[in-house]
Symmetry: C2
Subunit: 247 residues, 2 copies
């Protein structure tokens, strides 16, 4: 059963209207707090958005994508060195967590925690979807949620009861991802072979056609994740890290 | 049963001598590849270290901590935009993933994937432990594993069969981590109250005494994660990101 869950899971973008009880949500979060964490510092926080007005505002920062507008609750999981730093200061210890390495540690902690929430929530019959847009408007999200210094949003989860219409998409073969002892140096032909099934599946052929492109790769480079956009987000996100004292 | 697993899990640093079958490991990794991933780009790779000589070298880069030297296998999970970028280039699409935002996306993908491996491996009866030291010697690890441009190690997992001697440590109360609608502004007293049980538990009192310090916080700031070390690792890690073309 557990085996089936991991193999069959799917991210959910289509939700029903049923609300998630706050008690259930808290229980999931509390259990997720048993996930591994750096030095048991628990360098994360989660802001729960259930209020309609807040959800409307927050969804706009996620470009009103259907998973965001249609879900019941948005969880904004933050890399958080604020709580720990304040505790150090109040204990007359001198913290040193206003730097990039500490951000990476907190980001890692926060994503581990987010993924534990995903697994537990899904096993409890809920649907979840990461809103990858969290980095795009991180400064606006940070302002809306009133995040203090050393707290940065790094993973947003849309959560709700699924209606069961979401379909699995393809994945690369395991050989693409696993390297034995050293990183494998694939030839061009070997690398292209790893992407062959991905390119040839019907759903992706349709995706290329619907986007009016010649290849699957160009849908990513020209439409979904283009260079200019990535560079703008990089600049904005580094600026946010600086303003939050992580740089 | 699943509920119990999440509540009772513990990171494992004490392993038996039994080897993990490669088939079992591959199966776990393949199932973990169903974890959520940014735009289905699967921006991660895993380097499997099983060879004795490689494991000795890699463990030294993790300061020969017992979890590293005692485990059966070390998995080095990498943020990887190399495979995807090469595929774009070979498809005559123009990639734009040599920037900080793309690193953050790949890091997030890699950590989600790592945590999915942890959960599946533990449910299969294995023990795991993140080696937080991965960031400390990331350049050396990168050289040993022959990681190319746009590939950076971000999560290392020690994996093996547990001998059952690892104990759970305490966690903060759920109230410390959950914020409703907006980030809560705790007073000093409220914040200290959240850390009270942590400071007063016997294991941590012993930890403070063994380290010859006056407070739990100062064990972290003076011994475990001091400012000067965090700043050095920040500098080294940013340099690595630059050399790997993510900055």
């Amino acid at each position: 059963m557990e085996k089936d869950y991991f193999v069959n899971r799917v991210s959910v973008r289509n939700f029903g209207v049923r609300h998630i009880e706050m008690e259930k949500l808290t229980d999931i979060i509390e259990r997720a707090m048993r996930a591994p964490t750096c030095g048991n510092m628990q360098l994360y926080s989660v802001v729960v958005t259930r209020d309609d007005e807040m959800k409307t505002k927050l969804s706009a920062m996620h470009f009103n994508q259907p998973a965001s507008t249609g879900c019941d609750v948005i969880l904004t999981i933050c890399a958080d060195f604020n709580r720990f730093t304040r505790w150090c200061e109040l204990s007359n210890a001198v913290p040193g967590y206003d730097n990039f390495h500490s951000f990476v540690s907190a980001l890692t902690d926060a994503v581990i925690f987010a993924q534990q929430i995903v697994t537990i929530a899904e096993m409890e019959g809920l649907g979840t979807c990461y809103l990858g847009t969290v980095n795009y408007n991180a400064a606006d999200i940070s302002a809306l949620l009133e995040l203090p210094d050393l707290v940065v949003p790094v993973a947003s989860l849309a959560v709700g009861y699924p209606i069961g219409t979401d379909q699995q998409v393809e994945r690369l073969p395991v050989a693409a991802v696993v390297h034995l002892e050293k990183y494998r140096k694939d030839s061009d032909e070997e690398l292209l072979a790893l992407f062959k099934d991905k390119e040839e599946c019907d759903a992706n052929k349709k995706f290329v056609k619907d986007n009016g492109k010649q290849s699957l790769a160009s849908v990513f480079t020209d439409i979904r994740y283009p260079k200019a956009m990535n560079e703008k987000v990089s600049k904005d996100f580094l600026k946010l890290l600086e303003s939050k004292k992580f740089l």
